[in-house]
Amino acid sequence: MNRLAAIAMALVAAAGAVQAADPVVVSPPGRKAMAPEIAVAPDGALVVLWLERTPAGDAGQGNHNQAAADLWLARSVDGGASFGAPVRVNATPGAVWGFPVSKPRVAVSPAGVVHVFHAGNAQHARTGKPLVLPLYTRSTDGGRSFGEPRVLGGMPDARLGSPVEGSDIAELFGTLAIDGRGGVYAYWIDTRAMTKEQPNGKVWSAVSLDDGVTFGAEFEVLPADTCPCCQLTTATQDGRVFLGSRRVNPEGTRDSTVAVSIDRGRTFAARVRWGGTPWKIEACPLKATALAVDGEFVYTAAFDGGASPQGAAWSRSSDGGRSFEPARPLHATATVSDAPVLALAGEALVAAWHAKAGGAERRVFVAVSRDRGRSFSAPVEVPAPAGNGTYPVLTARAGGVQLAWQQADAILTRYLAADDPLFGNPPERKP
Protein backbone atom coordinates (compact mmCIF):
# COMPACT_ATOMS: atom_id res chain seq x y z
CA MET A 1 0.00 0.00 0.00
CA ASN A 2 1.45 3.34 -0.91
CA ARG A 3 1.67 6.15 1.61
CA LEU A 4 -1.12 8.19 0.00
CA ALA A 5 -3.56 5.32 0.19
CA ALA A 6 -2.61 4.70 3.83
CA ILE A 7 -3.18 8.35 4.68
CA ALA A 8 -6.52 8.31 2.87
CA MET A 9 -7.61 5.21 4.77
CA ALA A 10 -6.53 6.74 8.05
CA LEU A 11 -8.56 9.88 7.29
CA VAL A 12 -11.60 7.80 6.48
CA ALA A 13 -11.19 5.81 9.70
CA ALA A 14 -10.79 9.01 11.72
CA ALA A 15 -13.92 10.48 10.20
CA GLY A 16 -15.82 7.32 10.98
CA ALA A 17 -14.67 7.51 14.57
CA VAL A 18 -16.65 10.69 15.03
CA GLN A 19 -19.47 10.49 12.56
CA ALA A 20 -21.37 7.58 11.16
CA ALA A 21 -24.29 8.93 9.17
CA ASP A 22 -25.96 5.62 8.43
CA PRO A 23 -27.37 3.55 11.26
CA VAL A 24 -25.26 0.62 12.36
CA VAL A 25 -26.89 -2.58 13.52
CA VAL A 26 -25.50 -3.48 16.94
CA SER A 27 -27.39 -6.67 17.82
CA PRO A 28 -26.61 -9.91 15.97
CA PRO A 29 -29.08 -10.89 13.24
CA GLY A 30 -31.96 -13.19 14.07
CA ARG A 31 -32.30 -12.03 17.66
CA LYS A 32 -35.24 -10.34 19.34
CA ALA A 33 -33.44 -7.37 20.85
CA MET A 34 -35.09 -4.45 22.62
CA ALA A 35 -34.67 -1.60 25.07
CA PRO A 36 -31.19 -0.23 24.31
CA GLU A 37 -29.08 1.92 26.58
CA ILE A 38 -25.79 3.58 25.67
CA ALA A 39 -22.77 5.10 27.38
CA VAL A 40 -19.37 6.41 26.37
CA ALA A 41 -16.18 5.31 28.11
CA PRO A 42 -13.38 7.76 28.89
CA ASP A 43 -11.27 6.22 26.11
CA GLY A 44 -14.06 6.99 23.64
CA ALA A 45 -15.33 3.44 23.42
CA LEU A 46 -19.07 3.21 22.91
CA VAL A 47 -21.00 0.74 25.04
CA VAL A 48 -24.47 -0.43 24.02
CA LEU A 49 -26.63 -2.52 26.33
CA TRP A 50 -29.90 -4.21 25.42
CA LEU A 51 -32.41 -6.83 26.49
CA GLU A 52 -33.37 -10.04 24.76
CA ARG A 53 -36.03 -12.51 25.68
CA THR A 54 -34.39 -15.66 27.00
CA PRO A 55 -34.83 -18.49 24.48
CA ALA A 56 -37.46 -21.02 25.56
CA GLY A 57 -35.94 -23.69 27.75
CA ASP A 58 -32.86 -21.66 28.64
CA ALA A 59 -34.17 -19.88 31.72
CA GLY A 60 -32.09 -21.16 34.57
CA GLN A 61 -32.76 -22.90 37.84
CA GLY A 62 -36.48 -23.39 37.68
CA ASN A 63 -37.08 -19.75 37.02
CA HIS A 64 -40.81 -19.16 36.77
CA ASN A 65 -40.84 -15.37 36.83
CA GLN A 66 -42.55 -13.16 34.38
CA ALA A 67 -40.35 -11.64 31.71
CA ALA A 68 -37.26 -13.81 31.87
CA ALA A 69 -34.69 -11.94 29.84
CA ASP A 70 -30.99 -11.68 29.19
CA LEU A 71 -28.83 -8.60 29.09
CA TRP A 72 -26.29 -8.14 26.31
CA LEU A 73 -23.52 -5.59 25.93
CA ALA A 74 -21.51 -4.73 22.82
CA ARG A 75 -18.57 -2.38 22.54
CA SER A 76 -17.32 -0.23 19.70
CA VAL A 77 -13.85 1.26 19.59
CA ASP A 78 -14.30 2.99 16.23
CA GLY A 79 -17.00 5.48 17.10
CA GLY A 80 -19.90 3.17 16.49
CA ALA A 81 -18.87 2.13 12.97
CA SER A 82 -18.58 -1.51 14.09
CA PHE A 83 -19.15 -3.50 17.25
CA GLY A 84 -17.43 -6.48 18.79
CA ALA A 85 -19.24 -9.70 19.63
CA PRO A 86 -21.80 -9.05 22.37
CA VAL A 87 -21.23 -10.32 25.90
CA ARG A 88 -24.07 -11.63 28.04
CA VAL A 89 -23.97 -9.62 31.27
CA ASN A 90 -26.03 -12.04 33.39
CA ALA A 91 -24.32 -15.35 34.10
CA THR A 92 -27.60 -17.23 34.63
CA PRO A 93 -29.92 -17.25 31.62
CA GLY A 94 -33.27 -15.62 32.29
CA ALA A 95 -32.05 -13.78 35.39
CA VAL A 96 -33.07 -10.34 34.10
CA TRP A 97 -36.54 -8.82 34.40
CA GLY A 98 -37.37 -6.06 32.03
CA PHE A 99 -38.88 -4.62 28.92
CA PRO A 100 -38.54 -1.31 27.12
CA VAL A 101 -40.18 0.77 29.84
CA SER A 102 -38.42 -0.95 32.74
CA LYS A 103 -35.03 -1.42 31.27
CA PRO A 104 -31.50 -1.81 32.57
CA ARG A 105 -29.21 1.20 32.84
CA VAL A 106 -25.52 1.53 32.03
CA ALA A 107 -22.87 4.11 32.86
CA VAL A 108 -19.09 4.22 32.50
CA SER A 109 -17.04 6.05 35.12
CA PRO A 110 -13.86 8.07 34.46
CA ALA A 111 -11.85 5.06 35.65
CA GLY A 112 -13.45 2.99 32.91
CA VAL A 113 -15.65 0.90 35.19
CA VAL A 114 -18.85 -0.19 33.44
CA HIS A 115 -21.80 -0.01 35.84
CA VAL A 116 -24.99 -1.93 35.07
CA PHE A 117 -28.19 -1.76 37.13
CA HIS A 118 -31.23 -3.85 36.32
CA ALA A 119 -34.22 -5.60 37.80
CA GLY A 120 -33.53 -9.28 38.30
CA ASN A 121 -35.59 -12.37 38.85
CA ALA A 122 -35.45 -14.00 42.27
CA GLN A 123 -37.53 -16.27 44.39
CA HIS A 124 -38.84 -15.61 47.86
CA ALA A 125 -36.75 -17.54 50.33
CA ARG A 126 -39.73 -18.73 52.34
CA THR A 127 -42.56 -19.04 49.85
CA GLY A 128 -40.61 -19.78 46.69
CA LYS A 129 -42.79 -17.28 44.85
CA PRO A 130 -41.24 -15.07 42.19
CA LEU A 131 -39.81 -11.68 43.09
CA VAL A 132 -38.04 -8.93 41.22
CA LEU A 133 -35.04 -7.36 42.96
CA PRO A 134 -32.68 -4.47 42.11
CA LEU A 135 -29.35 -5.89 40.95
CA TYR A 136 -26.03 -4.16 40.30
CA THR A 137 -22.98 -5.50 38.53
CA ARG A 138 -19.78 -3.92 37.27
CA SER A 139 -17.03 -4.61 34.80
CA THR A 140 -13.44 -3.49 35.27
CA ASP A 141 -12.27 -4.68 31.86
CA GLY A 142 -14.33 -2.42 29.66
CA GLY A 143 -17.38 -4.65 29.54
CA ARG A 144 -15.68 -7.88 28.50
CA SER A 145 -16.72 -9.59 31.75
CA PHE A 146 -18.91 -8.77 34.73
CA GLY A 147 -18.81 -9.60 38.41
CA GLU A 148 -21.44 -11.44 40.39
CA PRO A 149 -24.58 -9.32 40.64
CA ARG A 150 -25.28 -7.70 43.99
CA VAL A 151 -28.77 -7.22 45.36
CA LEU A 152 -29.04 -3.57 46.41
CA GLY A 153 -32.49 -3.88 47.94
CA GLY A 154 -33.60 -6.08 50.78
CA MET A 155 -35.43 -9.34 50.16
CA PRO A 156 -39.02 -8.19 50.61
CA ASP A 157 -41.29 -9.95 53.02
CA ALA A 158 -44.06 -9.79 50.48
CA ARG A 159 -47.52 -11.02 51.28
CA LEU A 160 -47.92 -12.55 47.86
CA GLY A 161 -51.46 -13.49 48.67
CA SER A 162 -53.46 -11.45 46.21
CA PRO A 163 -52.91 -10.30 42.67
CA VAL A 164 -52.81 -6.71 43.81
CA GLU A 165 -51.53 -6.74 47.37
CA GLY A 166 -48.04 -8.13 47.39
CA SER A 167 -48.05 -9.10 43.75
CA ASP A 168 -45.18 -10.94 42.17
CA ILE A 169 -43.17 -7.78 41.64
CA ALA A 170 -41.33 -5.88 44.31
CA GLU A 171 -38.38 -3.68 43.42
CA LEU A 172 -38.02 -2.52 39.85
CA PHE A 173 -38.32 0.34 37.31
CA GLY A 174 -34.95 1.58 38.53
CA THR A 175 -32.21 3.85 37.32
CA LEU A 176 -28.56 4.63 37.92
CA ALA A 177 -26.15 7.53 37.47
CA ILE A 178 -22.52 8.25 38.28
CA ASP A 179 -20.99 11.57 39.27
CA GLY A 180 -17.42 11.25 38.06
CA ARG A 181 -16.09 11.30 41.64
CA GLY A 182 -16.71 7.67 42.47
CA GLY A 183 -20.39 8.20 43.23
CA VAL A 184 -22.79 5.57 41.92
CA TYR A 185 -26.45 6.34 42.62
CA ALA A 186 -29.11 3.65 42.19
CA TYR A 187 -32.84 4.23 42.60
CA TRP A 188 -35.78 1.88 42.26
CA ILE A 189 -39.50 1.59 42.90
CA ASP A 190 -40.44 -0.56 45.88
CA THR A 191 -43.97 -1.94 45.81
CA ARG A 192 -43.95 -3.66 49.18
CA ALA A 193 -46.22 -1.07 50.76
CA MET A 194 -48.84 -1.39 48.05
CA THR A 195 -52.38 -2.33 49.04
CA LYS A 196 -55.73 -1.98 47.36
CA GLU A 197 -56.22 1.24 49.30
CA GLN A 198 -52.68 2.49 48.76
CA PRO A 199 -51.63 1.34 45.29
CA ASN A 200 -48.46 3.42 44.96
CA GLY A 201 -44.76 2.75 45.24
CA LYS A 202 -41.91 4.14 47.29
CA VAL A 203 -38.51 5.09 45.92
CA TRP A 204 -35.50 3.49 47.55
CA SER A 205 -31.82 4.03 46.90
CA ALA A 206 -28.37 2.64 47.49
CA VAL A 207 -25.25 4.73 46.97
CA SER A 208 -21.61 3.83 46.40
CA LEU A 209 -18.88 6.39 46.88
CA ASP A 210 -16.03 4.14 45.70
CA ASP A 211 -17.00 3.54 42.08
CA GLY A 212 -19.22 0.57 42.86
CA VAL A 213 -16.78 -1.45 44.97
CA THR A 214 -19.13 -1.19 47.96
CA PHE A 215 -22.62 0.20 48.50
CA GLY A 216 -24.15 1.64 51.63
CA ALA A 217 -27.37 0.19 53.01
CA GLU A 218 -30.55 0.83 51.09
CA PHE A 219 -32.68 3.74 52.28
CA GLU A 220 -36.05 5.28 51.47
CA VAL A 221 -35.93 8.40 49.31
CA LEU A 222 -39.56 9.09 48.40
CA PRO A 223 -42.69 7.99 50.25
CA ALA A 224 -45.50 5.78 48.98
CA ASP A 225 -46.88 8.27 46.49
CA THR A 226 -44.87 7.36 43.43
CA CYS A 227 -46.27 5.85 40.25
CA PRO A 228 -45.23 2.21 40.63
CA CYS A 229 -44.88 1.55 36.92
CA CYS A 230 -43.09 4.65 35.65
CA GLN A 231 -39.37 4.14 35.30
CA LEU A 232 -37.21 6.47 37.36
CA THR A 233 -34.52 8.66 35.84
CA THR A 234 -31.48 10.34 37.33
CA ALA A 235 -28.69 12.70 36.31
CA THR A 236 -25.75 14.31 38.07
CA GLN A 237 -23.90 17.57 37.64
CA ASP A 238 -21.65 19.74 39.76
CA GLY A 239 -22.21 17.73 42.92
CA ARG A 240 -25.97 17.61 42.49
CA VAL A 241 -28.11 14.53 41.93
CA PHE A 242 -31.39 14.94 40.04
CA LEU A 243 -34.17 12.35 40.35
CA GLY A 244 -37.09 12.15 37.95
CA SER A 245 -40.28 10.35 38.93
CA ARG A 246 -44.05 10.56 38.57
CA ARG A 247 -45.83 11.54 41.74
CA VAL A 248 -49.34 10.31 42.43
CA ASN A 249 -51.10 13.28 43.98
CA PRO A 250 -54.06 13.09 46.35
CA GLU A 251 -56.44 14.15 43.58
CA GLY A 252 -55.25 11.23 41.45
CA THR A 253 -52.96 13.00 38.99
CA ARG A 254 -49.71 11.31 37.99
CA ASP A 255 -47.32 14.07 37.08
CA SER A 256 -43.63 14.14 36.31
CA THR A 257 -41.48 15.68 39.01
CA VAL A 258 -37.83 16.48 39.59
CA ALA A 259 -36.08 16.36 42.97
CA VAL A 260 -32.57 17.64 43.64
CA SER A 261 -29.97 16.47 46.15
CA ILE A 262 -26.92 18.50 47.09
CA ASP A 263 -25.49 15.97 49.56
CA ARG A 264 -24.59 13.13 47.20
CA GLY A 265 -28.02 11.57 47.29
CA ARG A 266 -28.50 11.36 51.06
CA THR A 267 -31.48 13.72 51.06
CA PHE A 268 -33.60 15.38 48.39
CA ALA A 269 -35.42 18.68 48.35
CA ALA A 270 -39.15 18.56 47.79
CA ARG A 271 -40.16 17.33 44.37
CA VAL A 272 -40.98 20.02 41.84
CA ARG A 273 -43.65 19.42 39.24
CA TRP A 274 -42.65 19.77 35.60
CA GLY A 275 -44.63 22.08 33.37
CA GLY A 276 -46.96 19.47 31.87
CA THR A 277 -50.75 19.43 32.19
CA PRO A 278 -52.04 17.50 35.23
CA TRP A 279 -52.97 13.94 34.20
CA LYS A 280 -55.60 12.21 36.29
CA ILE A 281 -55.45 8.50 35.67
CA GLU A 282 -55.42 5.32 37.75
CA ALA A 283 -53.35 3.15 35.49
CA CYS A 284 -49.83 2.11 34.60
CA PRO A 285 -48.85 4.96 32.30
CA LEU A 286 -45.36 3.48 31.83
CA LYS A 287 -44.01 6.99 31.27
CA ALA A 288 -40.61 8.10 32.47
CA THR A 289 -39.37 11.66 33.05
CA ALA A 290 -36.28 12.31 30.93
CA LEU A 291 -33.64 14.64 32.35
CA ALA A 292 -30.72 16.70 31.08
CA VAL A 293 -28.83 19.24 33.14
CA ASP A 294 -26.65 22.16 32.03
CA GLY A 295 -25.70 24.37 34.96
CA GLU A 296 -28.88 26.03 36.23
CA PHE A 297 -30.83 24.82 33.21
CA VAL A 298 -32.70 21.61 33.97
CA TYR A 299 -34.58 20.08 31.06
CA THR A 300 -37.29 17.45 31.33
CA ALA A 301 -39.19 15.57 28.67
CA ALA A 302 -42.11 13.25 29.20
CA PHE A 303 -45.45 12.09 27.87
CA ASP A 304 -47.84 14.96 28.57
CA GLY A 305 -50.91 12.87 29.30
CA GLY A 306 -53.11 15.71 30.49
CA ALA A 307 -52.55 17.79 27.39
CA SER A 308 -54.84 17.77 24.40
CA PRO A 309 -53.58 16.26 22.26
CA GLN A 310 -51.42 14.04 24.42
CA GLY A 311 -47.84 13.39 23.43
CA ALA A 312 -44.14 13.86 24.01
CA ALA A 313 -43.31 17.27 25.42
CA TRP A 314 -40.51 19.17 27.09
CA SER A 315 -40.30 21.62 29.95
CA ARG A 316 -37.42 23.80 31.10
CA SER A 317 -36.15 25.11 34.41
CA SER A 318 -33.67 27.96 34.44
CA ASP A 319 -33.28 28.05 38.23
CA GLY A 320 -31.71 24.69 38.93
CA GLY A 321 -34.97 22.76 39.09
CA ARG A 322 -36.84 25.00 41.56
CA SER A 323 -39.52 25.79 38.98
CA PHE A 324 -40.40 24.72 35.45
CA GLU A 325 -41.87 26.54 32.49
CA PRO A 326 -45.06 25.20 30.87
CA ALA A 327 -44.44 22.09 28.78
CA ARG A 328 -44.68 22.30 25.02
CA PRO A 329 -45.19 19.48 22.55
CA LEU A 330 -42.26 18.08 20.63
CA HIS A 331 -44.44 16.67 17.86
CA ALA A 332 -47.89 18.23 17.87
CA THR A 333 -48.93 16.79 14.51
CA ALA A 334 -48.20 13.14 15.34
CA THR A 335 -50.96 10.59 15.80
CA VAL A 336 -49.12 9.56 18.93
CA SER A 337 -45.67 10.47 20.25
CA ASP A 338 -43.99 9.03 23.30
CA ALA A 339 -40.78 7.99 25.09
CA PRO A 340 -38.85 11.27 24.73
CA VAL A 341 -35.21 11.50 25.83
CA LEU A 342 -32.77 14.40 26.00
CA ALA A 343 -29.02 14.92 25.77
CA LEU A 344 -26.70 17.88 25.48
CA ALA A 345 -24.47 18.21 22.44
CA GLY A 346 -22.18 21.02 23.44
CA GLU A 347 -24.49 23.99 23.78
CA ALA A 348 -27.26 22.32 21.80
CA LEU A 349 -29.99 20.24 23.40
CA VAL A 350 -31.13 17.23 21.39
CA ALA A 351 -34.45 15.43 21.88
CA ALA A 352 -35.42 12.04 20.46
CA TRP A 353 -38.71 10.16 20.72
CA HIS A 354 -40.86 7.72 18.81
CA ALA A 355 -44.05 8.68 17.04
CA LYS A 356 -46.60 7.70 14.45
CA ALA A 357 -46.80 10.47 11.90
CA GLY A 358 -48.49 9.80 8.62
CA GLY A 359 -48.12 6.05 8.82
CA ALA A 360 -49.01 2.99 10.83
CA GLU A 361 -45.47 2.38 12.04
CA ARG A 362 -43.76 4.12 14.88
CA ARG A 363 -40.54 5.83 13.81
CA VAL A 364 -37.79 7.63 15.68
CA PHE A 365 -37.75 11.42 15.44
CA VAL A 366 -35.22 14.01 16.60
CA ALA A 367 -35.17 17.75 17.09
CA VAL A 368 -32.58 20.21 18.34
CA SER A 369 -32.73 23.31 20.51
CA ARG A 370 -30.03 25.92 20.10
CA ASP A 371 -31.50 28.45 22.52
CA ARG A 372 -31.13 26.52 25.78
CA GLY A 373 -34.44 24.74 25.53
CA ARG A 374 -36.59 27.76 24.75
CA SER A 375 -37.62 26.20 21.43
CA PHE A 376 -36.95 23.11 19.32
CA SER A 377 -36.54 22.65 15.62
CA ALA A 378 -39.24 20.85 13.65
CA PRO A 379 -39.31 17.06 14.15
CA VAL A 380 -37.20 15.07 11.72
CA GLU A 381 -37.57 11.34 11.15
CA VAL A 382 -34.34 9.41 11.51
CA PRO A 383 -33.84 7.39 8.33
CA ALA A 384 -34.03 3.69 9.09
CA PRO A 385 -35.19 0.45 7.52
CA ALA A 386 -38.88 -0.43 7.45
CA GLY A 387 -40.50 -1.49 10.69
CA ASN A 388 -41.25 0.08 14.01
CA GLY A 389 -38.51 2.30 15.41
CA THR A 390 -38.98 2.73 19.13
CA TYR A 391 -37.50 3.72 22.50
CA PRO A 392 -34.57 5.92 21.44
CA VAL A 393 -31.75 6.77 23.83
CA LEU A 394 -29.11 9.50 23.57
CA THR A 395 -25.74 10.18 25.08
CA ALA A 396 -23.30 13.01 24.49
CA ARG A 397 -20.27 12.09 22.39
CA ALA A 398 -17.62 14.03 20.49
CA GLY A 399 -19.54 17.30 20.50
CA GLY A 400 -22.71 15.64 19.25
CA VAL A 401 -24.91 12.82 20.43
CA GLN A 402 -24.94 9.10 19.89
CA LEU A 403 -28.45 7.82 19.23
CA ALA A 404 -29.56 4.22 19.66
CA TRP A 405 -33.00 2.70 19.30
CA GLN A 406 -34.95 -0.47 18.73
CA GLN A 407 -35.76 -1.04 15.07
CA ALA A 408 -38.17 -3.98 14.81
CA ASP A 409 -36.19 -6.71 16.62
CA ALA A 410 -32.74 -5.13 16.23
CA ILE A 411 -30.74 -2.42 18.00
CA LEU A 412 -29.45 0.38 15.77
CA THR A 413 -27.19 3.33 16.48
CA ARG A 414 -25.90 6.41 14.69
CA TYR A 415 -24.04 9.60 15.48
CA LEU A 416 -25.62 13.03 15.17
CA ALA A 417 -23.48 16.15 15.18
CA ALA A 418 -25.04 19.22 16.78
CA ASP A 419 -25.19 20.79 13.31
CA ASP A 420 -26.07 17.55 11.55
CA PRO A 421 -27.84 18.21 8.24
CA LEU A 422 -30.58 15.93 9.50
CA PHE A 423 -31.74 18.70 11.82
CA GLY A 424 -32.00 21.16 8.94
CA ASN A 425 -31.26 24.90 9.18
CA PRO A 426 -27.80 24.63 10.70
CA PRO A 427 -26.83 27.62 12.82
CA GLU A 428 -25.19 30.58 11.17
CA ARG A 429 -21.46 30.45 11.51
CA LYS A 430 -19.53 33.61 12.16
CA PRO A 431 -16.57 34.15 9.85
Binding site: A67, A68, P163, S167, D168, P199, C284, A360, T390
Partner: protein, 170 residues
Protein backbone atom coordinates in the same frame (compact mmCIF):
# COMPACT_ATOMS: atom_id res chain seq x y z
CA UNK B 1 -83.86 -43.32 47.29
CA UNK B 2 -81.34 -45.68 45.72
CA UNK B 3 -77.59 -45.06 45.97
CA UNK B 4 -77.52 -44.20 42.27
CA UNK B 5 -80.17 -41.54 42.76
CA UNK B 6 -78.26 -40.11 45.68
CA UNK B 7 -75.20 -39.65 43.46
CA UNK B 8 -76.70 -38.93 40.09
CA UNK B 9 -79.36 -36.47 41.18
CA UNK B 10 -76.96 -33.94 42.70
CA UNK B 11 -74.81 -34.16 39.59
CA UNK B 12 -77.79 -33.47 37.37
CA UNK B 13 -78.81 -30.54 39.56
CA UNK B 14 -75.30 -29.18 39.52
CA UNK B 15 -75.08 -29.47 35.77
CA UNK B 16 -78.42 -27.70 35.39
CA UNK B 17 -77.27 -24.90 37.66
CA UNK B 18 -74.09 -24.47 35.66
CA UNK B 19 -76.03 -24.33 32.42
CA UNK B 20 -78.45 -21.84 33.90
CA UNK B 21 -75.63 -19.66 35.09
CA UNK B 22 -74.25 -19.49 31.60
CA UNK B 23 -70.85 -18.56 32.96
CA UNK B 24 -70.24 -22.03 34.21
CA UNK B 25 -68.31 -22.95 31.12
CA UNK B 26 -64.62 -22.26 31.30
CA UNK B 27 -63.55 -19.43 29.00
CA UNK B 28 -61.35 -20.41 26.08
CA UNK B 29 -57.67 -21.00 26.76
CA UNK B 30 -55.37 -18.00 26.74
CA UNK B 31 -54.50 -17.81 23.07
CA UNK B 32 -51.42 -15.99 21.77
CA UNK B 33 -52.44 -13.87 18.79
CA UNK B 34 -50.72 -11.93 16.05
CA UNK B 35 -52.33 -8.70 14.85
CA UNK B 36 -54.02 -10.57 12.00
CA UNK B 37 -55.31 -13.25 14.33
CA UNK B 38 -56.52 -10.61 16.74
CA UNK B 39 -58.48 -8.93 13.96
CA UNK B 40 -60.06 -12.28 13.13
CA UNK B 41 -61.01 -12.84 16.77
CA UNK B 42 -62.69 -9.44 16.88
CA UNK B 43 -64.48 -10.03 13.60
CA UNK B 44 -65.96 -13.19 15.05
CA UNK B 45 -67.58 -11.08 17.77
CA UNK B 46 -69.43 -8.78 15.37
CA UNK B 47 -73.04 -8.50 16.37
CA UNK B 48 -72.19 -8.13 20.01
CA UNK B 49 -70.91 -5.16 21.95
CA UNK B 50 -67.33 -5.91 22.99
CA UNK B 51 -65.51 -4.52 25.98
CA UNK B 52 -61.85 -5.00 25.07
CA UNK B 53 -59.53 -4.71 28.07
CA UNK B 54 -55.80 -4.28 27.46
CA UNK B 55 -54.04 -5.47 30.61
CA UNK B 56 -50.89 -7.04 32.05
CA UNK B 57 -50.19 -9.28 35.01
CA UNK B 58 -47.74 -6.71 36.47
CA UNK B 59 -50.23 -3.81 36.26
CA UNK B 60 -51.88 -3.37 39.64
CA UNK B 61 -54.68 -1.05 38.41
CA UNK B 62 -55.47 -3.65 35.75
CA UNK B 63 -55.83 -6.37 38.35
CA UNK B 64 -58.03 -4.15 40.50
CA UNK B 65 -60.51 -3.50 37.71
CA UNK B 66 -60.85 -6.97 36.20
CA UNK B 67 -63.35 -8.17 38.85
CA UNK B 68 -65.50 -5.12 38.06
CA UNK B 69 -65.34 -5.82 34.34
CA UNK B 70 -66.33 -9.44 34.94
CA UNK B 71 -69.29 -8.24 37.00
CA UNK B 72 -70.37 -5.93 34.18
CA UNK B 73 -70.12 -8.80 31.72
CA UNK B 74 -72.18 -11.05 33.97
CA UNK B 75 -74.89 -8.40 34.23
CA UNK B 76 -75.09 -7.64 30.51
CA UNK B 77 -74.23 -10.95 28.89
CA UNK B 78 -77.82 -11.66 27.91
CA UNK B 79 -78.00 -8.31 26.08
CA UNK B 80 -75.27 -9.28 23.64
CA UNK B 81 -72.31 -7.98 25.60
CA UNK B 82 -68.94 -9.71 25.86
CA UNK B 83 -65.70 -8.95 27.72
CA UNK B 84 -62.45 -9.81 25.97
CA UNK B 85 -59.01 -9.33 27.48
CA UNK B 86 -55.78 -8.69 25.64
CA UNK B 87 -52.70 -9.29 27.76
CA UNK B 88 -49.59 -7.40 26.71
CA UNK B 89 -47.36 -9.49 28.93
CA UNK B 90 -44.31 -10.69 27.11
CA UNK B 91 -45.02 -12.97 24.21
CA UNK B 92 -42.84 -15.65 25.78
CA UNK B 93 -44.95 -15.72 28.91
CA UNK B 94 -48.21 -17.11 27.54
CA UNK B 95 -48.10 -20.12 29.84
CA UNK B 96 -47.55 -17.88 32.86
CA UNK B 97 -50.38 -15.60 31.84
CA UNK B 98 -52.64 -18.63 31.52
CA UNK B 99 -51.66 -19.77 35.00
CA UNK B 100 -52.18 -16.30 36.41
CA UNK B 101 -55.61 -16.07 34.78
CA UNK B 102 -56.53 -19.46 36.16
CA UNK B 103 -55.38 -18.56 39.67
CA UNK B 104 -57.02 -15.17 39.92
CA UNK B 105 -59.65 -14.58 37.24
CA UNK B 106 -60.70 -17.98 35.87
CA UNK B 107 -63.78 -16.56 34.13
CA UNK B 108 -61.77 -13.93 32.23
CA UNK B 109 -61.59 -14.64 28.50
CA UNK B 110 -58.30 -13.15 27.41
CA UNK B 111 -55.94 -13.27 24.49
CA UNK B 112 -52.20 -12.79 24.74
CA UNK B 113 -49.80 -10.99 22.43
CA UNK B 114 -47.67 -13.15 20.21
CA UNK B 115 -45.04 -10.65 19.13
CA UNK B 116 -42.41 -8.36 20.55
CA UNK B 117 -44.48 -5.33 19.71
CA UNK B 118 -47.67 -4.78 21.71
CA UNK B 119 -48.44 -1.60 19.80
CA UNK B 120 -48.95 -3.48 16.54
CA UNK B 121 -51.57 -5.59 18.27
CA UNK B 122 -53.52 -2.79 19.93
CA UNK B 123 -53.26 -0.76 16.74
CA UNK B 124 -55.78 -3.18 15.23
CA UNK B 125 -58.37 -1.13 17.10
CA UNK B 126 -56.48 2.08 17.93
CA UNK B 127 -53.62 3.54 15.91
CA UNK B 128 -53.17 6.19 18.58
CA UNK B 129 -52.79 3.88 21.58
CA UNK B 130 -50.33 5.46 23.98
CA UNK B 131 -49.20 2.23 25.69
CA UNK B 132 -51.11 2.96 28.88
CA UNK B 133 -52.55 -0.05 30.70
CA UNK B 134 -55.27 -0.67 31.46
CA UNK B 135 -56.94 0.68 28.37
CA UNK B 136 -60.52 -0.45 27.81
CA UNK B 137 -62.28 -0.08 24.47
CA UNK B 138 -65.97 -0.39 23.82
CA UNK B 139 -66.69 -1.71 20.35
CA UNK B 140 -70.17 -1.37 18.86
CA UNK B 141 -71.92 -4.34 17.28
CA UNK B 142 -70.36 -3.43 13.93
CA UNK B 143 -66.84 -3.47 15.37
CA UNK B 144 -66.33 0.30 15.57
CA UNK B 145 -64.56 1.64 18.63
CA UNK B 146 -67.07 3.94 20.29
CA UNK B 147 -65.17 4.72 23.47
CA UNK B 148 -61.67 4.50 24.92
CA UNK B 149 -61.27 4.41 28.69
CA UNK B 150 -57.82 4.70 30.23
CA UNK B 151 -57.30 3.78 33.84
CA UNK B 152 -59.53 2.24 36.40
CA UNK B 153 -63.08 3.50 36.82
CA UNK B 154 -65.68 2.44 39.34
CA UNK B 155 -67.82 -0.60 38.58
CA UNK B 156 -70.83 1.70 38.17
CA UNK B 157 -68.96 3.86 35.66
CA UNK B 158 -67.93 0.82 33.62
CA UNK B 159 -71.51 -0.45 33.71
CA UNK B 160 -72.85 2.88 32.53
CA UNK B 161 -70.33 3.03 29.69
CA UNK B 162 -71.24 -0.50 28.67
CA UNK B 163 -74.96 0.29 28.73
CA UNK B 164 -74.36 3.36 26.56
CA UNK B 165 -72.46 1.23 24.07
CA UNK B 166 -75.28 -1.30 24.03
CA UNK B 167 -77.83 1.40 23.47
CA UNK B 168 -75.82 3.08 20.77
CA UNK B 169 -74.70 -0.07 18.99
CA UNK B 170 -75.78 -0.36 15.44
Amino acid sequence: MSWSHRIVRPLVVAAALLLAAGAGAQPPEVKPVSPAQFATELAALRGRVVMLNVWATWCAPCLKEIPDLLAVEAELRDEGFVLLGLSIDDAADAAQVAGFRQDHFPAFHTLQRDANDADALVSVVDQAWNEVVPTTYLLARDGRVVRRIQGKLTRAAFLQAAREALGGGS
